[in-house]
């Protein structure tokens, strides 16, 4: 519980600060752009889909590469840490998707006032699942690199396949070119596939990190 509390309080707070700063920057950029051209898309949507998921993936990397060795050095087991990290990935994904939605609420109001055109954005659930999978893949791939060095590159195709799953139905992404019809066929049921993708990322992270050595760093 101590590890979970630490991860959640520090990284959710950090994520909120980053999101607030980026939102203000996007809004400023949109106003600047509006002086020269018509606004026909949501800047926040592009950020929340294209950039935010990479930020969330980086958080997954940070959790395994930086915080796991620290936790072990302070007397915690990998099992305790991974249980906390699994819970954290879910909570962090929810927090980030709520932040994304708060951004949309504000942005929609601004767009209405300014008479700018907007685009539909994904659901809260879709964002949560996308962030959860990206965070989990960050953990999994990092655990593989930390354990096997360059051999961890072999897990990259698996990671890429997993992160593609929740983004398929998300406006602002163009994932999965081959199976374009699959999400439409499954409808909202596609979220179940995304939940499975997240469960697979966490199971793989556990499998790789469970006996991972803490190497000497320089």
């Amino acid at each position: 519980m101590k590890v979970f509390r630490h991860l959640t309080t520090t990284l959710v707070a950090y994520g909120a600060i980053v999101a607030a700063c980026v939102f203000l920057a996007v809004l400023a950029a949109t106003f600047t752009l509006s002086l020269f051209a018509d606004i026909v898309f949501s800047g926040w949507m592009m950020v929340s889909v294209q950039i935010a998921r990479w930020f969330v993936l980086w958080v997954g990397v940070y959790v395994i590469h930086n915080v796991l060795p620290i936790a072990i050095a302070h007397g915690r087991t990998r099992r305790e840490f991974l249980a906390a990290a699994t819970g954290f990935s879910a909570v962090f994904a929810v927090a980030m998707s709520v932040l994304a939605w708060l951004g949309f609420l504000v942005e929609d109001s601004v767009y209405d006032v300014m008479g700018w055109r907007n685009h539909p954005h994904g659901s809260l659930l879709a964002y949560t699942l996308m962030f959860a999978v990206w965070c989990g893949v960050g953990m999994f791939v990092t655990a593989a690199f930390d354990r096997w060095g360059y051999g961890g590159a072999l897990t990259l195709p698996v990671g890429l396949a997993l992160v593609a799953v929740p983004g398929i139905t998300m406006p602002g992404t163009d994932d999965l070119p081959v199976f374009r019809d699959a999400p439409e066929l499954l409808g909202e049921g596609w979220h179940v596939v995304s939940v499975f993708a997240w469960m697979i990322t966490m199971a793989l992270t556990w499998a790789v990190a469970r006996a991972m050595p803490v190497r000497t760093r320089t």
Binding site: K2, I70, I72, H74, G75, T77, R78, P213, V214, R217
Partner: protein, 291 residues
């Protein structure tokens, strides 16, 4: 805390860092873990701390350590600061980690030590000098108050006054809170007076485990007239010699029997203890290109 190691092997690819090692530490002592560079000290301590899965058995008070929450709570290994903190963390964050995650952590003592060793709480770990980073490692190790505390070359980069402050703090804290402390160091003579028992390893194998005083008694420095010293040491294992004019001092390995002691007295030779460091060098000396 008692430590039992049985058939421990640590490999990195084709390199064997610890080779089928077995020993036991009865606990509540300050142990010196001595070995040359690459002898396997860090790998051994990493296995003792649950940093890596052991091939063989590592038991702390009879319990396996790897992924055992109860046993892991009792151990603290400080190799250097990067294990216990990120480079972007402030020193104050490092203490917060300890306070949050270790039940045995003494934060008041940690603050006292950071002050004693001259470490600013606001400085980022990555901005600390090598010596300050080592000192912070000492803070983490001692303030953890772990029943098994291991300090791996914690003196690295420390200036002499800081090292002496570290040795004093170590001894005082051990006296106040007896526990099993394992220290690896290359500055053997500086720490020799603190060590109760010595474990010497070389090329991943156990060379010797002995009470420090017993080990010291295995060597004798013989000083006197050069020709008398040469006569006395004939046939003995001589670790080294120093001459000044007609006076010579020779370091002899092995216990002297009564007849040898009488002969030394007859020749007017002075007998004294030799440094632990000299014994260590001898015991790990390469023989025929191999150690």
């Amino acid at each position: 805390m008692r430590v039992d190691v049985q058939g421990l092997t640590v490999r990195y690819g084709s390199v064997t860092a610890v080779d089928d090692m077995s020993f036991s530490l009865s606990g509540n002592k300050i142990y010196g873990l001595l070995g040359r560079n690459g002898s396997g000290k860090t790998s051994l301590m990493s296995a003792l701390a649950g940093y890596r899965k052991p091939a063989g058995s590592v038991l702390l008070d009879g319990e396996p350590v790897f992924e055992n929450a109860a046993a892991m709570r009792q151990v603290c290994l400080v190799r250097h600061m990067s294990d216990a903190a990120g480079k972007g963390d402030k020193v104050s964050h490092v203490l917060e980690y300890g306070a949050a995650w270790r039940d045995t952590w003494d934060n008041a003592y940690a603050l006292e030590l950071t002050d004693l060793l001259g470490i600013s709480l606001k400085t980022k770990v990555g901005a600390l000098s090598l010596g300050q980073g080592s000192a912070l490692g000492v803070v983490v190790g001692l303030a953890s108050r772990s029943p098994l505390t291991m300090l791996d070359e914690s003196h690295v980069g420390m200036d002499t006054p800081t090292r002496y402050a570290f040795y004093d703090a170590l001894l005082n804290d051990f006296m106040a809170h007896p526990r099993t402390i394992i220290i690896s160091t290359h500055l053997i003579e500086e720490l020799a007076s603190l060590l109760e028992e010595v474990v010497i390893i070389d090329s991943g194998r156990l060379v010797l485990q002995e009470e420090a005083d017993v080990l010291r008694s295995r060597g004798t420095e013989v000083t006197g007239n050069a020709s008398d010293v040469d006569e006395f040491t004939l046939g003995l294992t001589v670790l080294g010699e120093k001459s000044l004019g007609r006076t010579k001092a020779a370091m002899v390995y092995g216990t002297l029997d009564d007849s040898q002691l009488i002969r030394a007295r007859q020749l007017g030779l002075e007998l004294g203890p030799i440094a632990l460091q000299d014994l260590f060098v001898h015991l790990t000396e390469p023989v025929g290109g191999k150690r």
